[in-house]
Amino acid sequence: MNESTTKPKPNYITAGNTAKSWLLTVDHKRIGLMYLLGMTFFFLIGATAAALFRFELATHNANVFANDTYNRLFTMHGILMVFFFLIPAVPGVLGNFLVPLMIGAKDVAFPRLNLASWYIYMLGGTFTLGAIVLGGIDTGWTFYTPYSSVYADSQVILAGTGVFITGFSSILTGLNFIVTIHKMRAPGMTWMRLPLFIWAQYATSIINVLGTPVIAITLLLVVFERALGFGIFDPQKGGDPVLYQHLFWFYSHPAVYIMILPGFGVVSEVLACFSRKRIYGYEFVAFSSLAIAAIGFFVWGHHMFTSSQSPYAGLIFSILTYLVGIPTAIKIFNWTATLYKGSILLSAPMIYALGFIGLFLVGGLTGLFLATMAINVHLHDTYFVVAHFHYVMVGGMMMAWLSGLHFWWPKMFGKMYNEFWARVGAVIIFFGFNFTFFPQFIAGYMGMPRRYHVYDIEYQPFQMLSTVGAYFMGVGLIICFVTLVSSIFKGKPAGKNPFKATGVEWNQADSPPDQHNFTSPVKVDVEAYDYTDERIYQDT
């Protein structure tokens, strides 16, 4: 507020801006930006892999890649996207940046541990990139045994170690957030005043802390079996290959909620802001995240209906899967109801958020197909599953991520992006996405198995559409990327609260925030999403 001099006030980016100060920073905001850089890097490699194999898939015969190359490409795509983008993106970037700001804290509870998490994440990524450079890995992101542990002729050990390592960054970040949310809330920030984004991070962190150790130990066993000849999964040594699937999905089903719950949080914030209403059924939305996190640990067997698991176990897994679906469905009703009699502005973050609802809806409904035992037997391991999880992970999670990135971009960098081009990018991504993945439902229902680079010609029309759609979506992503990056250099100053949003991060911190987040003590005396609070509309 002291604009007596022309020199801009230092903020967390400019204060002491040396390479060393970044690499050794314990500031959660800077760590968030470092995650943004790392994650964007892995995302771009993963996306390039997809662009390459989508080209191969356009026609039914082999065109450019031999089978081994193709197998390495889809594996690399899956591993990078799941473990290095979808899982860490929202917690690592937006979570780190926003959790302390939203609850009015100076930093996370353990700032040094937070920096360690980033280094661990990058180290895991380095191992995985090493695996790619040294010949690649061809097991699929699921690492099924005994293929991975005995038969595969590729860099399973390096890649497995990379995923193993990066898991620790999720565990430590989870721990950090749980303690931060419990212990560091500003006076007046009661649990029931927490933004829904915080509730979502809280639920996610619990899953991370409880689930990630399981995948870590499982991959370690695979590595041991490969390197030292353990007989845990290898039937020739008395091991059980299906045991691996139980262990893998015991983590990886909850992991799908690790990916999507933070997205729920982002969308709740964005919908509230751009319809200027409190989220309908705040308590339900908050607690259902916790319920989903808990029940989500007991449905893993729905990935294994054809694996020779007991059909009675299958019954339980099937019914529990529907039971997790219901709170999810009610959340969709709540978001939709929030729009009712709102004051809706279709800004770029809002377009992404509304796109999220529609696409996630389709993803969730097709999840019900897959939870239906007799239908699953037909659709399992076909393109239907591929389409399903891309609808939830790309249509859901990636749309939510882009929504959040646009929404908080002015807070992170203090600059406004070009709203017109941001909207154009959002609309192209939405249509390109549907173009890419909708045809895959049909190909899957017709019986086309996944992970085939050559296939029967009757599936070709759908694969061809899908490839064209993917490049269309790629154009949208490039527009989005250029719009955001160029705003850092040419964007107009954003001001403290450009969207007139509620929340401590908007109303009590500058854009970009001060090194210590707040220049005056934070006190919270309003409920979440109270758009009648005048402070929102004061210009500073």
Binding site: I332, A374, V377, D381, Y445, P449, P461
Partner: protein, 319 residues
């Protein structure tokens, strides 16, 4: 339906497939209804309540208790129907009928080996008589595969170290897809076969026909060359015969020099053949991928010497 004459639904090859499709249509109906309903409401709200509009917006909106209850009870009922219906069909499909005809299936990187009740074997093709329930008892020699008959809406994983089962009841003659649905390595996409549903008379004819029909008998022969031919046809021929095979054509090459990937060459003698069967990656043939897997534990030493005897005999006959 068939816009542009593109097929959008799989073939219906059994009564069971028809029942699965009915359930699928129910799911499709529910899903399309909710997708269209919710998306239309969102679009409607986005227009009606856009910031510039002067629609009526009271300060506080009342909670719609009735709507909330309907909004959870109706989905609950709809999904419970899905659950029970799906579980019923799954259990129907689980137990094979008592009178089913049993065929043994072995999955192996990257082929399907079938054995009929009378011992006749075939690879990647499966002939079955129409109208008879067929039960498959399956296992794998290496990694996990999955036997998938999309036109019958059935699949089951084929797991090393155990037997799994699956059955189907073909109702019409024809040729149907057979895929490996579980990713199993380099040639996963080529691990496809054909299911031939034929008339009972044709099936009988097929069973008693020569070729591989006599294989089981031949394998039991005392003559190593005869037995070796059966081993060759059951295990090696799929990759090692003719140009364009996955592996080099070595049918008549015994006693010749083979070029290796390393640039060296090696004599194809007894020991080289034996070692290539057991440790195929020791010497990689020039121009071919290291795609062969070891037959350790699958062929015993007698069978290996039989196949060597056979290879010797064909290349001698050639000179």
């Amino acid at each position: 339906m068939n816009l542009l004459a593109v097929k959008t639904r799989p073939v219906v090859a059994s009564d069971y497939a028809e029942e699965v499709d009915a359930l699928y249509n129910y799911l499709l109906g529910v899903s399309v209804f909710f997708t269209v309903a919710i998306c239309s409401v969102i679009v409607f709200f986005a227009i009606r309540y856009r910031r510039q509009s002067d629609a009526d917006r009271p300060e506080a909106t009342k909670d719609g208790k009735l709507l909330e209850i309907l909004g959870s009870v109706i989905p609950f009922i709809l999904v419970m129907i899905m659950f029970f219906w799906g579980a019923k069909l799954y259990f129907d499909a689980y137990m094979p009928p008592k009178d089913a005809m049993e065929i043994l299936v072995t999955g192996k990187q990257w082929m399907w080996k079938m054995q009929h009740p009378n011992g006749k074997r075939e690879i990647n093709d499966l002939h079955v008589p129409v109208g008879v329930p067929i039960k498959l008892t399956m296992t794998s020699e290496d990694v996990i595969h999955s036997f998938y008959l999309p036109d019958f809406r059935k699949k089951m994983d084929v797991v090393p170290g155990k037997y799994t089962q699956m059955w189907f009841h073909p109702r019409e003659e024809g040729v149907y897809h057979l895929f490996c649905a579980e990713y199993c390595g380099s040639e996963h996409a080529l691990m496809v076969g054909r299911l031939h549903v034929v008339s009972p008379a044709k099936y009988e004819e097929f069973l008693s026909s020569g070729g591989m029909g006599a294989m089981a008998e031949a394998a039991a022969s005392d003559d190593p060359v005869v037995a070796g031919k059966a081993v060759w046809e059951a295990n090696c021929v799929i990759c090692h015969s003719g140009p364009g095979g996955i592996g080099p054509n070595i049918h008549k090459a015994f006693g010749s020099m083979r070029e290796l990937e390393t640039g060296e060459s090696i004599l194809m003698d007894d020991d080289y053949v034996r070692n290539s069967i057991l440790n195929p990656n020791d010497d990689i043939a020039k121009g071919y991928p290291a795609a062969m897997t070891s037959f350790k534990g699958q062929l015993n030493s007698t069978q290996i010497s039989q196949v060597i005897a056979y290879l010797k005999s064909v290349s001698e006959a050639d000179q």
